[in-house]
């Protein structure tokens, strides 16, 4: 039982990070029907912002987190404006190739600046509580609580604010939205800011939990989070959260019973199996309208 709770905590920690990243994929897809394949690399940039701010500027945790989120959000908005916006009416494959190119650029730019993996110093004193046979680290609790908090805020924004209403309207039919007096470009920028900002937050939390970072760390994590978004139903915000926690749980579970090299293989197989059962994802529906 104690073992179960221990693993549950680990699964929640990993899952909440996947969920945060998956949200960026799903929000951008929802609004532009485009997969931002550079998103995993924006997550990586978030981790490097965390390194820069913590090591060179000696900032404490809260300003590091907020500034990293802001930095990645700005980068996301700039990337959309410069690289994706000119391709909005181009064939979809152009946008996909461009996104992959942007990702490679971010990786190699970071590699040029930082050829060796970096170690993130502990930004917070980590306390470990022991409850029965379960040991809970304060870091773990922080990652989970902060991620859940960010997801709650996002859910509120999407479902309860005017901006969220405009985002949902764009995901239905963006040709009609300007007739409501809404600037589609502004809402798209806002969506990129929020989605990539959450990716940046994930980068910071990830590098606190797993403190060695390198320029390629976003590739595998990014692919996994993308799959989470698809499993949850791409374009669906709550689905991305669910997908993230499912993958977190599956990975931890697999690692508990199989050699650790099996982890990704088993996890991906299970998720693909889920997609065969539910091709549009857990909360996804076939698009009711022309895209």
């Amino acid at each position: 039982m104690a073992y179960f709770f221990q693993q549950l905590l680990n699964a929640l920690q990993l899952g909440s990070i996947y969920a945060l990243i998956a949200l960026g994929y799903t929000m951008v897809y929802g609004i532009l029907t485009m997969i931002n394949f550079a998103h995993g690399d924006l997550f990586m940039v978030g981790a490097f912002f965390c390194f820069l701010l913590a090591v060179y500027l000696k900032l404490s945790f809260v300003p590091t987190l907020l500034l990293s989120m802001l930095g990645v959000a700005c980068l996301g908005v700039i990337i959309e404006r410069l690289a994706y916006k000119p391709l909005r009416t181009a064939p979809r494959v152009s946008a996909i190739i461009t996104a992959l190119g942007v990702g490679l650029f971010l990786e190699n730019f970071t590699l040029a600046l930082s050829p060796y993996p970096k170690h993130i110093p502990p930004l917070l004193t980590n306390v470990t509580w022991t409850v029965g046979a379960v040991s809970i680290s304060s870091l773990q609790v922080l990652v989970i609580v902060l991620s859940l908090g960010l997801m709650l805020i996002l859910d509120f924004v999407v479902w309860r604010t005017k901006a969220g209403m405009a985002m949902r309207a764009i995901s239905w039919d963006k040709t009609i939205v300007p007739l409501m007096g809404v600037s589609v470009n502004k809402i798209i920028s806002l969506t990129f800011a929020i989605g990539t900002g959450l990716g940046g937050a994930a980068g910071v939390l990830y590098s606190l939990a797993y403190p060695v970072i390198d320029p390629y760390m976003g590739i595998m994590v990014g692919w996994k989070a993308f799959i989470c978004a698809v499993v949850g139903g791409i374009g669906n915000v709550r689905g991305a959260m669910i997908g993230g926690f499912i993958l977190g749980a599956v990975e931890i579970l697999v690692a508990a019973f199989f050699p650790s090299t099996y982890r990704d293989f088993v996890a991906f197989t299970l998720l693909l199996g889920l997609l065969i059962l539910r091709p549009y994802g857990i909360l996804g529906r076939p698009q009711p309208q022309k895209v």
Partner: protein, 239 residues
């Protein structure tokens, strides 16, 4: 009609799609308080005119609204200038509730109490929408969606309404109801530019009308004149 009464002036409007010209220099005007209708067969270019006016498609020629050149304004700024466009097919957001559809249309307005008053007015005109505020737009019937589309146009507080085939796909009873409400909205002060294939009813409620054929205006006159014109009777009114 004096120059100061003119609300919308369209001159020499040309619209092309992928290099093929669909509108070949269309000119017309709409004065304050009028219902003006553009009638024409499917593919004549009626929707293209409305799309150009509201900034959804690029064009050559001039569109002037209350003395202001709309040419380089993005569509959302044209709404702010006072033009509401009810698009062909209604353009309801099926994933938003009825209430959200209406609220979204008031996006740019800051006058909260006036927005609340307009919402009440919309619900008075269309009581069915009040009953269905919490329902998703996609769950409404065609007639209810058309009412919601007109309701949204009223929520934007525009002075000029562009209505693209509001009768499309509706039963005759509903079509008459929608046209009655268009006349009522007009009496309350909204100016209406109405695009229709259903020439019969459109000519009845319109003060003036233009007939569009393959991208050109071929006839114009008062609604009554055109309704009596033998050529129109033959081509659009079934003899």
């Amino acid at each position: 009609m004096t120059a100061s009464d003119l609300l919308l002036t369209v001159s020499g409007l040309c619209v092309s799609y992928e290099g093929i010209e669909a509108l070949h220099g269309v000119s017309f005007e709409v004065a304050k308080g009028e219902i003006v209708t553009l009638i024409g067969a499917n593919g004549a270019g009626k929707s293209s005119i409305l799309r150009a006016v509201s900034g959804l498609v690029p064009y050559a020629g001039a569109v002037v609204y209350t003395g202001k050149d709309l040419k380089n304004l993005p569509a959302d700024r044209i709404v702010a200038a006072g033009i509401a466009h009810v698009p062909e097919g209604r353009g309801i957001f099926g994933n938003l509730t009825v209430g959200e559809n209406l609220k979204l249309a008031a996006w740019q307005r800051r006058d909260k109490s006036a927005v609340a008053r307009d919402l009440d007015r919309v619900f008075d005109l269309f009581p069915r929408l009040r009953e269905r505020t919490k329902q998703l737009g996609g769950m409404l019937s065609g007639g209810e969606q058309q009412m919601l589309a007109v309701g949204r146009a009223l929520m934007s507080d525009a002075e000029l309404l562009l209505l693209d085939e509001p009768s499309m796909g509706l039963s005759p009873v509903l079509v008459r109801e929608i046209f009655k409400i268009i006349s009522e909205i007009n009496r309350e002060g909204k100016t209406v530019l109405l695009v229709e294939q259903n020439a019969h009813l459109a000519l009845q409620i319109a003060r003036r009308a233009y007939v569009l054929e393959t991208g050109r205006i071929v006839l114009s006159g008062t609604g009554r004149e055109l309704a009596g014109n033998p050529r129109i009777r033959e081509a659009y009114l079934g003899g």
